[in-house]
Amino acid sequence: MDKVYILGGAQTDYSRNWSKEGKNVLALLRENIFDALDNVGLTRKDIIELNKENKIALFVGNFIAENYINQGHLGALLTEVDPCFFGVPSARFEAACASGSVAIDAACSKIKDKTYDIAIVIGWEIMKSVDSKTGGKFLGKAAYYETEGKNIEFPFPKLFAKLADETIRKYDLSEKRYMDALSKISYINYSNASRNPLAQTRNWYMDELQTRQRGTETNPIIGGKLALTDCSQVTDGAATVILCSEKYKKKNGLTNKPIIKGFGHRVAPMTFNKKIENAKEEKYILPWTRQAILDAYKRANLVVDDIDVFETHDCFTSSEYVAISCFGITEPGKEYKAIEQGIIDFDGKYPINPSGGLIGCGHPVGSSGVRMILDLYKQVTNQAYGYQIKNAKNGLMLNIGGSATTNYCYIVGIE
C-alpha cells in the first residue's frame, strides 16, 4: 500500500456569514478551493494536465446542504466553480458531522491503491442560511429521527446533556467537579481560539466565571445541564486539504510533507439509549470511540505518549470530556484530573484543540473533519503561527458524527 502525504490546504474564515454577505455556495467553494490550490502551488493548468491521465479526483464532505441551501449532487457542483474541474472524478461523502472524515478516508483509499496521484478533499457546510431552531431540526437528522429528532427542539444539546448525566452516573462523579471541568473545557477552547486568526470566536470575550454561571441571560441553558458556553457554534465555512501519492511527491521533489500515519473508523449503535446499553459492562462510556482511537494508534504504531497535539470533536463540552480518556490521557472516569491539572491546556503535556475546536474555532459540520486534519498538518509542519504547539511531530484528531455514532480518528505526523 502506498503512503498518503498531505501537501497543504486552506480554511475559510469561520467568522464569516456567507448569507449575510449575499454570496452563494459557489463563492464559498471557489474561495476555499483556490486558496488551497495556491497554498500547494497547483494551477488550473496542472489540474487539467493531471486529469488527462485520470490522476486527480475531488472528494466532498457535507452533511445536509439539501436542507440548508436546497442543493444536492455536491460532487458535480464543483464543475460550476471552474471549468478546470470538467471531467474530474468527484463525489460527495456523508456521515453527519464526520462527513469530512469519510471524504478523507475515500481519498486516502484511492491514493493508497495508486488510482490517483492528487486528491482534493473539501469539507463544507453553510448553516447560517436558516435560524437556529430550524438548523437544530436539520441537525436532528443525524440521530435516529423517528425517536430522537422528530418534534424535539434542539435534539443534539439534549442528547449530549444525556451523555453528561450518564458520565456523572457511570463514574459516580461529584456533579460540581464534573460541571467545573466542563466549564474549563469551554474556557480553554475559547482562549485557544483567540490565537487562531480563522476562528469564529477569536474576538469574543470569554472568562471562566462566565462558563460556570449557567442559566443566566447571557449563558442560558440549552439542554439538560448544558448551557450556551457548553455548545459548539453554528458556522458557515469550508476547509480543503490536498493529498498526494508517494510517486507524485518524489516526482516533484517535495520534502517535509507529513503523512497520514493511521486511521480508525468505528460505528456505534445509532440511538443514544442503545449506546449506553451497549456500554453497560464496559470501562469506557463510548467504547467504539475508544476503539477507533486504538485502531489508529495500532495502524500508526504509536501510543498516546507519541502524540504532541490533539484536535477533538467538542461539539459539546461533554463530548470533549469523554474523549480525554478515549485518547488514553487518563483512565476513564478520571478525565477531570487532566483538566484540573492543566494537562490539556495550550501549554500542557497533551494540548487539546489549540485551534479552539468546535466551540472556539467553529463547527460548519461537513467541514470539521477536514479542518481538523488541516490543523494537524499546520501543527506538524510548524505553520500554525499564533497557535503553534512547539515541536509538534505527531497529531491526532477525533471527528464524530451523531451522538458519537460514527467515530473517525486520524494520526498525522512527520515521517
Binding site: E21, G22, K23, L26, A27, E31, Y205, D207, Q210, Q213
Partner: protein, 432 residues
C-alpha cells in the same frame, strides 16, 4: 503598563457604557462608572454586560456618581472621559478631577475630533499623561482604536499605552497625530459627505436613494453610505464635517461642505434613526421605507433602483468572482458606473493622503476603514481593482489633477503595499 482601576466619566452614554464593558472584560480591571445618578450608573452596568455578552464582568463594575470623584479618581490608574463633545464641559470636568489624580494616572478623552492639544493644556505638569483614545461604536464589534498624542515627550508612555490597548484590550491601534477628526472619521465622513453632495447634484434622478443604490453592498460595505448617516445621526454628521471644513485648508476641503438639504433636516429635528425621521424613515404600519426627496422637499416611497452594471457586479460577487465584478465596473461608462468608480477612486486617493499625513504608516487607513467602519479598506480596494499601476491610470482618466497629484507623490505611491492586511473578499456583498 499596569492598569487595574479605571474611572469612566459619563458612563451612561452609549460609548461610556460600552467602553466600561471593554475595560472590565478584556482589561480585567475594576471600573467605576460615574453618572449623574446611581440609577443611571446601574443601568450603564447592565448595558456594559450586554455589550460584551457576559454577565461575569458585573462584579468588576461599581456604580458611582459625580459626588464620588475624589474616591474614584484617587484610586484610578486610568481615567476615561466620555462626556459630550463640548470643550467647555470637558475642561470644566478636568478641573474638578485634577486635585485627585495620582502622579502617573493616564487621562484619556474619547473625543471623536476635538484638538487633544487644546484639551491637554488644563493639566499643566501632568499634560503628558493626557491622550486621545478614540473608539468606534460598538467597540465590541469594531476594534479600531485611534491613539492620539499631542507632544513628542509622550512617546514612551504612548508606546506602553499602545501595547496595553493592543494586547490587553484587543484593539486595532493606529497612532495618529492630533488633527481634525483624526483618521477614520476624516476618511469616512469625506466619503459620506461626498455622497450627500452627489445626492444633491443628482436630485433629478432621485437623489438620496439613487446615490445609495450606486454605493450598495457590492461596493464593499454592509450598509449604503446615506443610510449610515441616518444611523450616525445627521446632527453628528453635520458637526463632524463642519469641524473638518473649518479646521483644514487643503484642495479637498470642499468635500466637507454641508449640503442645503442636510441643514434643513437638522433644523427641523429630522436627525436620523434616533429621531424617527432623517434621510429615510420607515412606516411601521405599512412596512414601507420613505426617503427624503431633495427636489420635492418632502418624503416619498423609496425607489428600488436597478442598474445594469450593479446587477452584473452582484451576479459575479455572489459566486465569488470578484475581479470580474470590478472589471465590469471599470469597463462600464454609464452615468451611474461613472459616479461609482469616481468616488471609489477618490476614496482610495484621499485615504492614502490623509493616512500619510496623520500616521507614520500609510496602511493605517486600512486598519481604520476595516475595523472602524467595516468598509472595504482602500489598499484592499486597490488590489481588487487590479493594483496600484492600474488605479493610477484610472485616477488620471477620471479624476481632477488634485487627486492625480496624490498618487504622483512618490512618498505615497511607492509606499503603497502590494497586499492589504485585510482580505477584500469578505467586505464585498452580493447585494445592493
Amino acid at each position: 503598563m499596569n492598569i487595574n482601576t479605571i474611572t469612566i466619566l459619563g458612563a451612561n452614554g452609549i460609548m461610556g457604557c460600552n467602553i466600561a464593558g471593554i475595560f472590565a472584560s478584556f482589561g480585567k480591571a475594576k471600573v467605576y462608572l460615574i453618572c449623574r445618578t446611581l440609577n443611571k450608573s446601574n443601568e450603564a452596568i447592565e448595558k456594559a454586560c450586554q455589550s460584551v455578552r457576559s454577565e461575569s464582568i458585573k462584579s468588576k463594575m461599581i456604580p458611582m456618581t459625580y459626588n464620588d470623584l475624589k474616591k474614584c479618581i484617587s484610586d484610578s490608574d486610568l481615567v476615561f472621559e466620555s462626556l459630550s463633545e463640548d470643550i467647555n464641559i470637558k475642561i470644566n470636568m478636568y478641573q474638578k478631577i485634577i486635585p485627585y489624580l495620582k502622579e502617573n494616572t493616564i487621562i484619556a478623552t474619547g473625543t471623536s475630533g476635538l484638538s487633544i492639544k487644546d484639551l491637554s493644556n488644563v493639566f499643566k505638569d501632568k499634560k503628558d499623561n493626557f491622550f486621545g483614545i478614540h473608539l468606534f461604536n460598538p467597540p465590541y464589534n469594531l476594534t479600531l482604536c485611534e491613539l492620539i498624542t499631542h507632544n513628542k515627550q509622550q512617546k514612551e508612555k504612548a508606546d506602553e499605552l499602545k501595547k496595553y490597548l493592543q494586547k490587553k484590550l484587543n484593539r486595532t491601534v493606529v497612532e495618529i497625530k492630533d488633527s481634525p477628526s483624526f483618521l477614520g472619521n476624516r476618511i469616512g465622513f469625506f466619503f459620506i459627505n461626498e455622497t450627500m453632495k452627489l445626492a444633491e447634484k443628482h436630485q433629478d434622478q432621485g437623489g438620496i436613494d439613487y446615490i445609495d443604490s450606486i454605493f450598495g453592498g457590492f461596493t464593499g460595505r454592509s450598509m449604503p453610505p446615506l443610510k449610515t448617516a441616518d444611523f450616525v445621526g445627521l446632527d453628528v454628521h453635520k458637526a463632524i464635517v463642519d469641524y473638518i471644513y473649518e479646521n483644514t485648508q487643503d484642495n479637498y476641503n470642499s468635500s466637507f461642505i454641508v449640503t442645503q438639504y442636510l441643514k434643513k433636516l437638522v433644523e427641523k429635528g429630522f436627525l436620523g434613526r434616533k429621531a424617527g425621521h432623517g434621510l429615510y424613515y420607515k412606516d411601521n404600519n405599512t412596512g414601507l421605507t420613505y426617503v427624503y426627496d431633495i427636489k420635492g422637499e418632502n418624503y416619498r416611497v423609496k425607489n428600488d433602483y436597478n442598474f445594469y452594471f450593479a446587477n452584473e457586479m452582484i451576479k459575479y460577487i455572489k459566486i465569488g468572482d470578484y475581479k470580474k465584478a470590478f472589471n465590469i465596473l471599470l469597463d462600464d461608462e454609464c452615468i451611474e458606473a461613472r459616479i461609482c468608480k469616481e468616488l471609489l477612486l477618490k476614496y482610495i486617493t484621499y485615504s492614502l493622503k490623509i493616512s500619510n499625513e496623520v500616521s507614520s504608516d500609510i496602511s493605517s487607513c486600512d486598519d481604520a476603514m476595516a475595523t472602524g467602519f467595516s468598509w472595504i479598506p482602500p489598499i484592499a480596494l486597490i488590489e481588487v481593482l487590479g493594483g496600484k499601476e492600474k488605479v493610477k491610470e484610472k485616477v488620471k482618466q477620471y479624476l481632477s489633477k488634485d487627486y492625480f497629484d496624490i498618487l504622483n507623490n512618490d512618498d505615497i505611491y511607492n509606499n503603497i503595499p502590494k497586499k492589504s492586511k485585510y482580505d477584500y473578499r469578505s467586505f464585498l456583498k452580493g447585494k445592493y
